[in-house]
Amino acid sequence: MKLLLSIHNLKKNYHTKQGEIKAVEHFSYDMKEGEFVSIVGPSGCGKSTILSILCGLDKKSSGKIIKRENLKIGYMLQQDGLFPWRTILENCYIGLELQNDLTNENKEYVKSLLETYGLKEFMNAYPSSLSGGMRQRVALIRTLATKPDLLLLDEPFSALDAHTRLVVCDDVWNIIKKEHKSAIMVTHDVEEAISCSDQVIVLTERPASIKQIYPIQLTDKTSPIHNRSCKEFSSYYNQIWKDIDFHV
């Protein structure tokens, strides 16, 4: 498979008045097309920083990031960030508007996405009338509207309650696979990581570097909810849990 993204020796320091914080150090990873990668690690270890750098919101301190030519990146956050003054449809158009790419063809594409993923009847509604799970799906469609090749998901389901979380995670995963996208997901939920991913990267405490990479091989691997009942699931879970080494 072709290489999508190659990160070499990424390093990031934050500077504040109080001092310097080493967030990421020696982070290297080669990502293939079509892969779903999760990054897990102790909380506050700098997981999100890696995504911010990849999508250009933060500058790296040093290291190399080589992207495939014309690689388009979409970023999705924990909070949906929907604009309350725009309808669902207008919210999904925002990326296209900003890139001056709001052609009829693209509009039709967005509408078809909304229709496919069960939001057609809410197209002209305002975000306040949608449930948390639906809003998160809208946020994903807004991200997909600009046709990115790689999706960066920053704890995308953390704001949802436990039950909705499972369902929306399954939905989003299916959408991503169906649209043939690659994705990097940051999460603190180990089960979520195993059930979605092809690869799980475990990070160390800050400064974050790679502790271990687990290629997830499950028998009868299908969608996240089903994957949770695969027989290898719990052994992966135990290994990763030990690796993260949570202490309260």
């Binding site: 919101l57 979409g74 970023y75 909070q79 960030g81 604009f83 925002i94 900003l98 305002y126």
Partner: protein
Amino acid sequence: MYSEEHKLYLKKQIIYKWIIIGIQLFFILLFLFLWQILSEKEIINPFIFSSPKRVLETIVKLHKNQTLYNHIGITVYETLISFGIGTILGYFIASILWWWRSLYDIFDPFLTVLNSLPKVALGPIIIIWAGAGINSIILMALFISVIITIIHIYQGFKEVDLIKIRLMKSLGASKFQLYSKLMIPATFPNFISTLKVNISLTLIGVIMGEFLVSKEGIGYLIMYGSQVFNLNLVITGIFLLGIVAAIMYYFVCFIEKRLIKND
């Protein structure tokens, strides 16, 4: 169709609303009645405290010699002009301060000083600069409203959800797009509340200006009345001012209701 229970609930709501209005009316009438009676029986001095009847007579007199609408009109005119200029100028300056963050850091202490300075102290200078006329009054009102507009609007910009800003940036928004597609709509409710503050502040400024220098306007009416010791005129002026202020405030509220939708 609604159930009987729900109908009853709605009915109760309406009844409650009318009871409130009724009590409010009662208090107004009681106040006017007591004022009239006490004044008529000379329990309070009618010369100093006037009376509802005398106020009404003064209004009729002003109406008959054609000056009533002129006074009201000139005050409203001055207020609207200052309000318009103040709002636009304040919004513009706040936008510039947002665009160039370092400008805000430079001017922040100056703004704070100007904001806490009692603007009426500038009165004498303004009269000398702008002449004894309507320009001075408008300038006075501008000074009062523009600083607070800048501070309010800028505060609104600063409070825009960081998540939304990050989102816009991740989608490749330029600074102008960030301003026009996020900052302006996101701060719209804040803008309307600024208008509400501003309309009252501008009116204060205009009346202050009219106290200092004027030949017409409600402020002039009050000032003139006190100088010739015609308390009927003073109280009539205050009464008219109250009505003008209320109408202007409700006008902004009306705009707010029309423009703000969904949330």
